[in-house]
Amino acid sequence: MEQPLQKRSTGRLMIIGFLSPTILLLLFMVAYPIISLVYYSFHNFSAMRPADGMTWAGLGNYEYLLTDRGIWQRFVFTGKFVFLCVTMQMILGIFVGYQLQKTFKGRDFLFTALMLPMMLSPVVAGFLWRYMLNAEWGVVNYLLTGIGLPKVEWLSQATPALWAAAVVDTWMWTPFIALLATAAFRGIPETIYEAAEVDGASPAYVFFRVTLPMSAPVLFIALILRLIDCFKQYDLFVAFTGGGPGSSTETVSFAVAKTAFSYFYTGEASALAVILLCIIMGLAMILVRHLSKMGER
């Protein structure tokens, strides 16, 4: 933007004035804690017994974690959970978003109603589904037996519990993908569709060759946000399974919380948190870089 020279300084003042509160807050709330976290991760230390002091542990905490089979189990579970959730949510969300971008009577009403699961507190959602999936008096098993299927012990076996958790997360967050997808689909200029219709392209062709590619950046953002949110999922499992049966539905986040706030192994929890942070930030960086490449194209 062409600007007279004397206005430059106002611009700089504005940048500094408008950004500094946010930067200061985030430095205090993110940079400082993370530096401390890395520091703790190299020490034997318990927040419960500060009198015992801190002793240098070197890579001890990391070594212990990476050779512990229990931790690998948490990572494998988290990975399976993320994969199931993101796949189901993207497919369902794009489908629902495509249906909702059409203009029809009662669309606003249906649209808002379908957003309801996303508005529910994750803890309440966890309890609600735990209530509905109860093997003995839950409504889901009642409906299943009603159509002649056997009862399922949803929450007392590892595999059904994984699927149940993915179904609950998908229930909550498909509306979010649908919201972003609708927004993206409606942003595509009408003239492109008209041109496609004149050319006699089939609806399926238009959807896969025009709609999807043109809304790819937004859908990709949706994917990033869900991928990372699923990866750090914690609230849902507290209320839904409590990590059980056994420790089979503990995510990595859940394990960090348990190590830090039930066992008070602060050093070890810090090390696990650092590993979790590195994975998430690494993922985010790769994905965001890919996104900006998409934007340039």
Binding site: Q99, D108, L116, S121, T182, A183
Partner: protein, 289 residues
Amino acid sequence: MSASNTGSARITRWVLFGLLVLYTIYNLGPILWLVISSLKSRADLFAMPPKLVFTPDFSGYQSVFGIGAAKDSAASIGVFRSLITSVLVSTIGTSVAVMLGTLAGYVCSRFDFRGKGDFMFFVLSTRMLPPVAVLVFYHMMFAQLGLADTRIGLILIAVFINVGLATWIMKGFFDGVPREVEQIAIVNGYSRMYAFRKLVLPMVKGGIAATAGFCFIFSWNEYAFASILTTTKAQTLPVKISTASGATGIEWTQICAAGVVLIVPVLIFFWLIRKHLLMGMTFGVLGRK
């Protein structure tokens, strides 16, 4: 329109419609069940087969609001207190986060400065941070600063978890306002600040509302931070109801009633901002006006 008249196209359309109906049942069924269960007595909750016709029982709602039969019980006074905490923390936290996000979003939309890309990523990364990771440290920091179990501490958290998202969404809305608005104002002798306050801000009112809606949902439903950083005095409603499940087993009626109470303000918010939601959610990456 010729394509849609052929037989296969009609079948496709009915299949898609059927799938949407199925999805709607999956989506809204549990919500309906939540509302129904919130009105059931303890005995009706566990009835098998589940009852669809029953005498409504308002004890869950009474204990959330601390009225009626539950008026003087210590447990429900605690629940009502936590509702007040939730309202205060979410509204104040959302207001501050939206304010900061609006300022930062405007600068990111209008100016090119060194490190802008890094700043934008840093801001977004706060949204991606796993709460438990920083909580290991906050737990100690809050105790040292006297912020543990206080509403002020939770407001700080509410601002922090939302400011990144607010910045990104607001940047998208500002990108949609033509730069000519400020150019014309400056040519006419107004200051840049005046143009921002009196011309640009009113144009993104809807965007501010949508951003506030999102921030409100996230702080209203926030659980991880509140559950670790509060113990008694400053518990929010989601934390309170999760700890209520203890001595006498899980208080399902109370949880369902609290769930309904928690969803109402968000639903109202959503309905009011529904038109703006769709515009803001493309984060400006589609590059349209």
